[in-house]
Amino acid sequence: MKYHLYPGCSAEGSALEYKISTLKVLEALGAEVTELENWTCCGASAASVQSDLLGVTLPARNLALAEQADGGGSSESPVDMIAVCSACYTNFRRASQAVGADAALLRTVNKALEVEGLTFHNRVRTRHLMEVLAVDFTPEEIAERVERPLTGLTVAPYYGCQTVRPYSPFDDNEKPTSMIAILEALGAKVHRHNRGAACCGTSLLMTKPRVGHHMVGEILTACSPADCVAVVCPMCHMNLDGYQNQVSQVMGQQLRVPILFLPQLMGLAFGLPPSDLLLKRHVVSAEPVLMRLADTETT
């Protein structure tokens, strides 16, 4: 299977471990992945607040690059582009839907893209990494690749809001389940809870910290019986991993749960070298997870 990968600003920066582990895991699964070159920010939550047109043009620029990398816009077949960040994913899907419903908007966007020497034909199918892992590979195919099963490890899946809302064609908007079969294929035990599609608070952690801490607190409390949380968005990771001290104060209980990216857990189970998974970059140490796995290996 062939994919173009749009890493996005966070996975190229603070969440580099997410991009690296994603590339390694997809490679291990036999996928052919090409990173997009010369990409720019998708606009995040900010561009569309400044201007409606900017909020469509910034993602469209990258979608046009994916078409170009796929041999131009002439072919009829869709171009599969993976987004690993749920906000990027939402912006790309939103832009595709907007220009698909409004031919005049597509013409205006292309007038803007002239200054970048690009034309957008709207034939990119943006797919979240979660979808690719859950739909394009069967749990059996994933299990076949496992060399060091995550036996004895209890994992709480956390999807985040924009992974499954509003565009998800692959999972339930409010009660997602797509991670469960993957985690079980890795040999882990799944901690079921009802905050899997709750919002991590995004920028509220910076603009309205009291509100944001509470949102994170509810998620961490629901996940805390597990040994770790598996996430598929760099923004979710930053919020769940970065503020656990303040969140513990707000919630009146000590919360300390390692937050790992799903491909990091897959890489561990696949027996990939630790240097491919960059497990030491998190604020809350992932060491207890490694120790738990070491325990079960020796017993």
Partner: protein
């Protein structure tokens, strides 16, 4: 409320600045009203009208877009420093610990800001502004 002519009350309210774009209201709305999109348009209108009641929230978007315009991509360290220092210099101390930990883990790194010369997306932003004015 906007349809009833209560625009000022809406634009001064805190509601839209508490929206985290989680789309829960939009997917649940039985009448299919694009509520999340509506909130985004209200934020745009409030910033364009210069409503200054919630500076921490409006600055967040303005500083973010400024960094993207200049570099083409988000520079997390520069954004956080610019935002915190302009929006809430005292509150910035609350983030100092996280910043140092992230720095120690190699999650963020120092880059020299480039303040002179053309920004990476200046031309695209300018073209979008021209086209938006014609719409």
């Amino acid at each position: 409320m906007v349809q009833l002519g209560l625009t000022d009350e809406v634009l001064q309210s805190k509601t839209m600045w508490l929206c985290s774009l989680c789309y829960e209201c939009q997917v649940r709305c039985p009448r299919g009203i694009p509520l999340t999109e509506t909130i985004t348009r209200l934020k745009e209108r409030a910033i364009k009208d210069g409503v200054a009641k919630w500076p921490k929230s409006t600055l967040f978007y303005q500083v973010f877009n400024g960094v993207v315009r200049r570099y083409g991509r988000m520079r997390e360290m520069e954004f956080m420093a610019r935002y915190l220092l302009s929006a809430d210099p005292l509150g910035a101390f609350n983030f100092a610990g996280l910043g140092l930990t992230m720095f120690a883990r190699g999650k963020i790194h120092l880059e020299m800001p480039k303040l002179a010369g053309e920004g990476r997306l200046d031309r695209l932003f300018e073209r979008v502004e021209e086209l938006e004015a014609q719409r």
